[in-house]
Symmetry: C2
Subunit: 307 residues, 2 copies
């Protein structure tokens, strides 16, 4: 039984107050797979790249236990490209350029060897592509988690609602939760979104942490207070990777275990932002991860017996 | 040994997207005392009001165990008055009018019966007034906590730094921490501020919770996700009251116990914002408080054994 990850693989060109990245490897599926591969192998990846995507980057993923059979390589085309600039507060960014390239006509094909999918992570992508993957799976996965963004709410609302109806866990950020629900209060927004289909809703608040809603229950995990957020690109995807990686490793889809998965995801995201692109994710060891998770425990742990 | 609270007592006139309060009772010391009186009695209050301050409001405080010997009543003068308007996100507000009135010439007098002060909470007020209270105490309290605001950083920076040097716990919000330190990163800001004197720094982030810094340690407590924040006025003071109230009750000034105190403060603040002014604080019972603190435990509790 396996973990299948769907999403973009891309070139990113990032500018922050601390410097420029130049053209580096990015994309939702790249971050998700790099993050999740610390917890579960293999990761079965579904994506598309152009002939310009470096072979050594594909090999590096492969070496980390990412199965690329579902990654289409369009030799004569160019990979998805995104460039953006972050402002001083690192919570807002401007997109400078988007070239869809191969992503513009992407029709995902689920390989036969992926049909044992137990956990499915739909990274941010056209809702139509996300839906197509769900439809191609002969058996419904035990858990489908999905990330999306405001862009699809504005350009593909109907398709988006169809996917949302099919998934168990939806991940959005705070402003997207407000946009999707039409409610300003996140508690009210969560209640409305849970009516749209998902059993679980994760609202990501960047440096302000993440909320998990399920029925009447709510859980909160902070982000680690960092000296410097160097580059937030991919933090949400890295969070998703840690989350689904922990779930796939533990095979436990209870609310209690999702709380832990959120802490694991937050820990992974806290690494991601420390350097440009995927650099930090490529460096870290299992010990680094264990240590960071302990920092999260320390960060929120208090002694209720004293009250 | 007692808990002494210093701060303004005022009339507030509040406008939020949900309505207008008209002229109601407010002021830092009022909120702090109302909040702290749930944990420790008596509260020995130092403040000043005009002849227009309602006797029944003073009696109500008195009935809750607030000793008003240190509250000067200037019969021929008017009480401090503030009016403000909150925006939709409730994190920003405009001051519409400030009338200092009796506060403009306030010279605090510490009654002899307050000389047993073990815990001192300096609510947001002129740094000069805060300093005067410290100077009048013959024995240094075991713990001095202080709240302040950006206004004093801009108009009384020298006095402010003098007080900060004398206190054990400083409370500011995130933008004030940035302004005081000249650092954008809150981790770096905390490091700079801890060099200015205090052993402990609490950075309040409103709906995004609060951080406690001490040496190399950091603790985070979230704010309770609420359906609606009705009126944030006094939330920071109510937090301070819960914090110092818990410390004074437990007589434990360890870092571990300060974490608990922050959770207690956050719980109290979550009540404050549910109605206009002090209304909700006047209604709640010990059971309500216990229940709310349990909600905070549930909100952040996760099972580390599963990782």
């Amino acid at each position: 039984m396996s973990l299948v990850v769907v999403g973009s693989m891309a070139f990113d060109d990032i500018e922050t107050p601390f410097g420029k990245s130049n053209k580096i490897i990015g994309g939702a599926a790249t971050y998700i797979a790099l993050s999740a591969s610390n917890f579960k192998k293999p990761i079965k990846q579904i994506s598309v790249v152009g002939g310009d995507f470096p072979v050594e980057e594909l090999e590096a993923l492969s070496n980390r236990g990412v199965d690329l059979e579902g990654v289409q390589i369009k030799k004569d085309k160019k990979s998805f490209y995104w460039s953006g600039r972050y402002h001083m507060d690192m919570n807002t960014r401007d997109t400078l350029e988007t070239q869809l390239n191969v992503l513009g006509e992407f029709v995902p094909i689920v390989p036969e060897s992926y049909q044992d999918c137990e956990f499915l992570m739909l990274g941010n992508l056209l809702p139509e592509v996300q839906l197509s993957v769900i439809r191609q799976l002969k058996h419904r996965p035990r858990l489908i988690a999905m990330d999306t963004m405001n862009f699809w709410m504005e350009t593909a609302a109907d398709d988006l609602k169809k996917v949302i109806r099919e998934v168990d866990v939806l991940m959005v950020n705070d402003s997207e939760a407000r946009e999707l629900s039409g409610e300003f209060s996140l508690v009210k927004a969560a209640r409305e979104i849970l009516k749209m289909g998902p059993e679980y809703l994760i609202i990501k608040k960047g440096e302000h942490g993440a909320l998990l809603f399920h029925k009447q229950q709510v859980f909160f995990a902070p982000a680690l207070p960092l000296e410097e957020v160097f580059d937030p690109t991919g933090a949400g995807d890295t969070f998703a990777g840690g989350f689904i990686g922990h779930i796939a490793r533990s095979k436990d889809i209870s609310f209690e275990n999702m709380k832990t998965a959120i802490v694991v995801g937050s820990a992974m995201a806290s690494f991601c932002v420390e350097k440009f692109g995927t650099q930090r994710l490529q460096e870290i060891s299992q010990d680094d991860i264990d240590e960071r998770i302990q920092e999260f425990v320390q960060l929120v742990n208090f002694d209720i017996a004293l009250i």
